[in-house]
Structures are given as structure tokens and as C-alpha cells.
Subunit: 464 residues, 2 copies
């Protein structure tokens, strides 16, 4: 209930201006004060890690924290890379998870150290000196403390999405990466999707003309897993819906669209507004679950069924970002991109070109196939066999792990840096603020401290 | 250039709060003052026209102002209704348009009076005493003065979309309808579409469960017609793109979604935010048109390529409304509706139900066809032959004219009243304000003056 009382409250004057009701009981923090903290850049502890290059690591020694829903897949992909990497340690608070992981690893002749059975087992693991990279796939609230601790022990870190849920957490990651001069990458696997890299390639080849707007989403009916006692560790995900409104999971849709638009590489997110619908999905569903479920017959979900945010970039582009994990509808990340010469929309993937049918119709099957052939990213050709053998969300998971390890092997900057992860993930706390204040515009913090203006290419696009 | 200078300007304090730059040169109107006019209801001149009933008119005598793009279709549909209506007068500023209309009407043995050749020919026509209803299909700026004049002459009026483009214009229509106790209907033909009435029928039958959000749009690449010297009278449409930003054409998408959600009949639009992308489509296209075109090589278009608005209703529902008439992409009004039990999305029409495939997949062809059969609105069955013979956007135009005349014949309230038209159409000036002020939330005026809370059914749904 703490979060509920911690609502950011409007000052009476601002509330009147916006025509919104004022709650006089909790007015201790004014909007002005709150928004000041958004744009106020914390003291910098080290130089920028943009384009960070480290000495090549012939064989990357990898450790894992969290072997629940996402960790085991990453572990299998690392194991598939042969001599490029070595799994030296694994950790999960639940011993049955490390045991299950060891069943797989043993069968491959891999024998890492195992840490399990208590909440800070990972801290012991981080004492080891045979770890170069830690992959974290734990509940969202744990990401920041675990990643910071990892970097403080001199190790690179890759964190599952979202990297953080609070504004302060995002700054803490950026500041720690700069202080320690280590990689802190958010594992946005969708940026490695076949469709997404194809679009990136078309954007870079000028197919879209001038980019104007995009649409991104996480639309995925998760009611079943959220109410399941075993779907997420300690049912952590549904607890977020009791705690706050806004977009809880922006990055799968937004990451690729941000890359199409060169966010952090010539453009940046400037400000956003966010609006949520009423909540109905979870409270209605809660009446249908077993009575011994902690969330049976609950109506205290603060999180609206559909959250829509609109982002404006410094270059004037706009992005719609949606979040809906309760409506009975098919999965979609939308993945729309508009330019003056072309338009793409996903689910299913469709493309229109000004140069065909005047842009008034989708490309037909043959025309579409031709564009796919011409602009498929070469990595999806080069790794065809490995992708088929390893998969993971259609292959994007494998390609991500491959690139992460390969860049460390070769001493190249990673494809995505701590600024990318922070830019995309910070939509969660910003959307919380905007929705709570009746959809007021909220400025994005500039994690890059003005370095976003430099044009620079994504690692994965530089090799084309 | 007047409109450009008339930008609504932020007060320094509010701008600082929003983190936006302040222009000190044009600060004569503060946001507070401007938003006050939004919620300040003008003095009421007559009782509400909600549910207005008038004596039956056996044969409705109809006159037309504007025989350009939309008028001739309406005229043909009225002519197809036999004794239910009689066309008594027609008017257009261009004599070639009335001549062309007369070619058609004469062939049907219809001989109305003709008014043409000057801007106020319509005023002479309105002096006649053999007109019950005037159908107005002229450039947008003319709608309000023509409709007001029509009502002042004791005649009902039906106006093409949008009814008005300024906030004051919307109030003027509402006030005049109340003062004269006459019908003032916006001709939102899409509300009569087969797909839209099918969805309405499902909503009323409980198929969607609790409604949470919807999506509406006008996505239609009109670059060709806008740059054409003959596409719109005096190229009026492209001039709006020079004049202002925002959503210039919200009602085709929004009208049906508003009806699904009982706006004005138990719910209302409460506030909205709006954001536009940069402008690129028209200025790039302007380089490709003939050099004697007034809009050749222009870059002074204020209107962003994609405008997205988010509306929140009093009941907490949300609606995304988009406007894009320049991107090379296929036509769409989106027509999405989400509830706790079902989800629909158009282009192409797809439906998911919690009760089938757990909602995780679209209904297959057979399941979808079954839902179409079960919930098709009976009017589309009853008028099948007339719709096939008359058409008009797939039939929706004919059904609209049929219902308009039929309700007047029978002395029934029209399906859509002046409050509906104002609620949907006022998104244009509100989106202008919000975009100009950096996407601040803007309250909707309550044109119904608190009467929206009454539940009441749409005429076309009451006969089921």
C-alpha cells in the first residue's frame, strides 16, 4: 500500500490549470519538484561509456543469476557457442532451478560452480575471479542492485528487460557503468529479430525516406501466467499491477523502433505523455481463479488494461507505445514504421512503398518476398544453421547471445549500451508519472548528457 | 499567416512546469485563460434537443448546398427514396455543378429550383418555404455559417463531416439547434457501415464484456487530391495543412467508436492529449508537382504527418485517434474495440473472443462468419436490395440517407444529434490546442450540459 500513498500529487495551481481534481491530503510533493528531479542530471562518476572498447576476451567466462523463465534459454545459447565462451558459475535462489540447469550442463560436460538456496547467494558468486560477464534474469526489482553489485566486482553485465523500474534505478546503472567503465547491456532480444533487422537494413538503405513515426507495443494476454502460482517467481508480475499504473514493459516493442530512429545516435526521446484505460481484465479474471489464490476476487489493481504513451523525439518524430497484458487478443508488438517513401506494420508483417501501387496498397506476396530477399540482414544468412538448431523466439535469442559474446571476443563495442537500455526502459517510471498526473507531458532524462547528437552506427549494422 | 501568429502561448510559469521553451514575444494569451474558455459553457438559448421529436413529415422536402465531392451522392440517394422525399432546390457556387446535377435529376423527372454562380446563392435558397431539410456538403469553414443560417430559417440541417473546425463554431451549432429546436445532424456515414453496426450489435449483446478502449483513425493518402487543382474546391483541404496542426478529420474513425462506448448516453469524452510528428510528406511531394501549382516547392505546412490523440472518457475508457493523410500506406480507420471478453480490429476485420482459443488467436474464417451472421444489424438485411442498387462507400451512404429521411417521415428522433456531432468533431480544435502547447491535457467542453449521464439508446439500435 506504500506505493498507493506515494502518488505524486499535483500542486493546487497546476491541478487547476489542468482542470483536474486536487487531493489536499497528500500534497507534500509538487509536480514542479518531481519533474525537476527528472531533468536534473546526477553527478557524473566517470567518462561516457558510449562506444566502450575493451581488450578482446578469447573465451568469455559467463555466470548466470536467475534460472527461471529466461535464464535457461540464455544458458543453452552460451553453451552452444563452443570455445567462444565458458560457463563458470550459475545461481538461483531456488535450488531446484540450479539442479535442473545442472542436468543440462552436465550432459554437455560443463561443470560450473553452483550458488543457490538464499537471496544473496549471488553476492558470493560475484566474489569469484573467473567471471567476465554476468547474465541477470531475475524479477524486475532485483535488476539494479544485482547489476550494480556485478559491475562493482569488475564484471560486465547483461540484464533482462526492463533494466530498471524506477527513475533512480536507471541513473544508478548509467552512473555505475561510467564509474567502472564496464558494459551494462539490456538484453532486448527483439532487436535481433529477422523482421526487425530487415527493417533496420531498409531504413539504412533509404527505403523509408524521411522517418516520421512508429508504433511499438507489448500486447500479450498474460492473465494465465500472472495468476499462476508458478508462472513468475513469487508471482512478481501481477504484484506490479497492484503497485502502479503506466507501461510496465515497453522495451520489446520500443527497442527496435528506437534503433530505426537512431535514438542516442543522432536523435533522442524528448518528452512523452501517457494514458491508461480503466482496469477491468484482472479484477474480472480474479473471480474465476481458485479461492486459495492470493489474488482471488481482488479489485485493487491500479494498472489500467491498456496503457498508451506518445513519445516525441528531438527530431520531431513520434512513437506510440502500448502495453496490454490482459485483453483477450492475439500477441502483437505492432512494429510499425512510417516514412515518406514506405510504411511497415507487423502482425502480420506488411509493407507499402510509394513506388508501388502509389503506396495505396500493401505489396503483394511476390513483391514483399522480393524486398525480404533484398534486405535481409546478412547475420540471419550467416548463422542460418545455428539459428535453426538453437532457436529461441524464432532465433532472435540465439543471435543476441551470439553477438554479445562475439563482440566481447573481438573487443568490439556491444551493439547496445547502457544508454540504450536506460532510454527504452525509463518509459516505465515516466509513464507512471504522466498517467498519475492526468497525462501531463514529462521530459526524458538525457542519460547520454548531450552525447546523443553524435551520429554513430550500430555495431550490427557496421559490418554490412 | 495569421494563424501562425495566433499560436496559443504558454505562460512562463506553466511552460517551466512542463519543461517547454517559452516564447516571450507572443505571450498575450495564457494557457489558463485559453483553457478557461474551453470549460466555460456559453449562455444557453433554448432547452436541450436531446431526443428531439418533431411531427412526422410524410414527404421530406430536401435542398442541397454544395454539389462537389459529397453532395451528388447524397442527392442520388434521396432521389432513390421515391415518395418519402422530394428534392425541391439545389445550390452550388459553381454553375457547372448544378448543371451536372440537373442532368441527372431531369433524367429522373425531378425539377428542383436551382441556385448558383455566387457565394451567397444559398441564402436566397433558404428564403423558400418548401424546404424541410438542407443537406450541406461544402468546404469545412462554410459549415457553421451555412448551418446556422439554415436553422434560423426554420429548416432542419444535416452537415457533412466535420461540422466545425473551431471551438466557437461547435458551440454556435449547439446553441442554435437548442434555440430553434431543430435537428442539426453531422452526416457521419461510417456509423451506418455494415462492420460498424455489427460491432454495435455485439456490444449491445454483451459480446465484448466490459469495454476498456478503442482505436479510431483516418489514414488515407490524399496527397494526390490535395495537390490537384480540382480535387477540392479552391484546394481548401491542403490550405488547412498550412494553417494548423492537430487532427483535421477525426469523425470517420471516432464516430463509431464513440457509439460503441455510449458517448453522450452514459459516458462522455473527458479530456485528451495530442501529439504530431514532424511534417515531411507534403513538403517532399510539393517538389514533384507542376511548377504552376500554388503549392509547388512549399515547406510552410504546419500540419505534422501523423497526429495521434488519446482521449479519456468519464468512465475511464480510452481511445486512440489518429490522422495521417500523407504517408504512402493503405487506407484504414483501424476501428478497434477492446473489452474483457472480446477484441476487434479492422483492415482487415478480425475478431478474438475470450471464449475461443482463450482469446490468444483470431477467430478462424468459419467462426468469424458465424459471428457476422449472428450479429449483423437487421437494417443491412432489410435494405439489402436498395443497398446493392445504390451503394455509396459500400452502402453506408445509402443507409444513412435512408435513416435520416425515414426518421423524419416517422417523427422519430434522429440517430445522431447535434451533441454527437459536436463531441466527435471538436477533437479538431482541441487537438490543435494540445499539440501547440506540447501535448498538454485539454478538457472537453460538455455540450450536453450534464445530460450525458442519462442512458438512452440509439434510434437505430432501438428497433432491434
Amino acid at each position: 500500500m506504500q506505493d498507493r500513498r506515494d502518488f505524486i500529487k499535483l500542486s493546487a495551481a497546476v491541478a487547476a490549470f489542468l482542470g483536474l481534481p486536487v487531493s489536499k491530503t497528500h500534497a507534500r510533493e509538487t509536480v514542479e519538484e518531481r519533474l525537476h528531479t527528472l531533468t536534473n542530471q546526477p553527478y557524473r562518476r566517470g567518462p561516457s561509456v558510449m562506444g566502450l572498447k575493451k581488450a578482446p576476451i578469447d573465451q568469455v567466462r559467463v555466470a548466470f543469476i536467475g534460472l527461471g523463465n529466461r535464464g535457461p534459454g540464455h544458458m543453452r545459447h552460451v553453451a552452444a557457442l563452443g570455445d567462444k565462451a565458458k560457463i563458470t558459475a550459475i545461481c538461483d535462489i531456488r535450488e531446484e532451478r540450479t539442479t535442473k540447469a545442472m542436468d543440462f550442463l552436465s550432459s554437455k560436460g560443463i561443470k560450473p560452480a553452483v550458488y543457490a538456496g538464499k537471496a544473496d547467494a549471488y553476492k558470493e558468486m560475484l566474489q569469484r575471479d573467473d567471471i567476465d560477464l554476468v547474465i541477470i534474469a531475475t524479477p524486475w526489482d532485483d535488476h539494479v542492485p544485482m547489476a550494480v553489485e556485478t559491475m562493482r566486482h569488475g564484471k560486465h553485465v547483461a540484464i533482462e528487460v526492463p533494466v530498471a523500474v524506477t527513475l533512480e534505478g536507471h541513473w544508478e546503472l548509467v552512473n555505475t557503468a561510467e564509474e567502472t567503465q564496464l558494459n551494462c547491456m539490456m538484453m532486448e532480444n527483439v532487436c535481433y529479430g529477422d523482421e526487425e533487422l530487415w527493417i533496420m537494413n531498409m531504413v539504412h538503405s533509404g527505403v523509408f525516406g524521411t522517418l516520421t513515426y512508429g508504433e511499438a507495443a507489448y500486447i500479450h494476454d498474460l492473465k494465465g501466467s500472472m495468476f499462476s502460482k508458478t508462472g513468475y517467481y513469487d508471482m512478481f508480475r501481477i504484484r506490479h499491477h497492484v503497485r502502479q499504473d503506466g507501461n510496465l514493459y515497453p522495451t520489446h516493442g520500443l527497442g527496435p523502433v528506437a534503433q530505426y530512429m537512431d535514438i542516442g545516435r543522432g536523435d533522442r526521446f524528448d518528452h512523452m505523455v501517457s494514458m491508461s484505460s480503466l482496469e477491468a481484465g484482472l479484477s474480472e479474471h480474479s473471480k474465476t481463479v481458485e479461492q486459495d489464490n492470493e489474488f482471488y476476487n481482488r479489485s485493487d489493481f491500479m494498472h489500467g488494461d491498456m496503457n498508451s504513451s506518445l513519445i516525441k523525439t528531438a527530431q520531431g518524430r513520434t512513437i506510440l507505445v502500448q502495453h496490454d497484458v490482459v485483453t483477450p487478443r492475439p500477441y502483437s508488438r505492432i512494429n510499425a514504421l512510417a516514412g515518406t517513401k514506405a510504411y511497415h506494420e507487423g502482425y502480420p508483417s506488411r509493407l507499402s512503398l510509394a513506388s508501388k501501387h502509389g503506396g495505396h496498397q500493401w505489396l503483394n506476396e511476390e513483391e514483399y518476398a522480393d524486398m525480404r530477399r533484398r534486405y535481409t540482414h546478412p547475420i540471419w544468412e550467416d548463422l542460418k544453421e545455428e539459428i535453426a538448431a538453437n532457436g529461441g523466439h524464432g532465433g532472435m535469442d540465439f543471435v543476441q547471445i551470439y553477438r554479445l559474446i562475439d563482440c566481447l571476443n573481438r573487443g568490439l563495442p556491444l551493439d547496445m549500451d547502457v544508454y540504450d537500455g536506460a532510454d527504452w526502459s525509463v518509459v516505465t517510471p515516466l509513464s507512471k508519472i504522466s498517467t498519475e498526473l492526468g497525462s501531463v507531458p514529462v521530459k526524458f532524462p538525457d542519460f547520454t548528457r548531450d552525447s546523443w547528437k553524435e551520429k554513430r552506427s550500430y555495431g550490427i549494422m557496421a559490418n554490412l
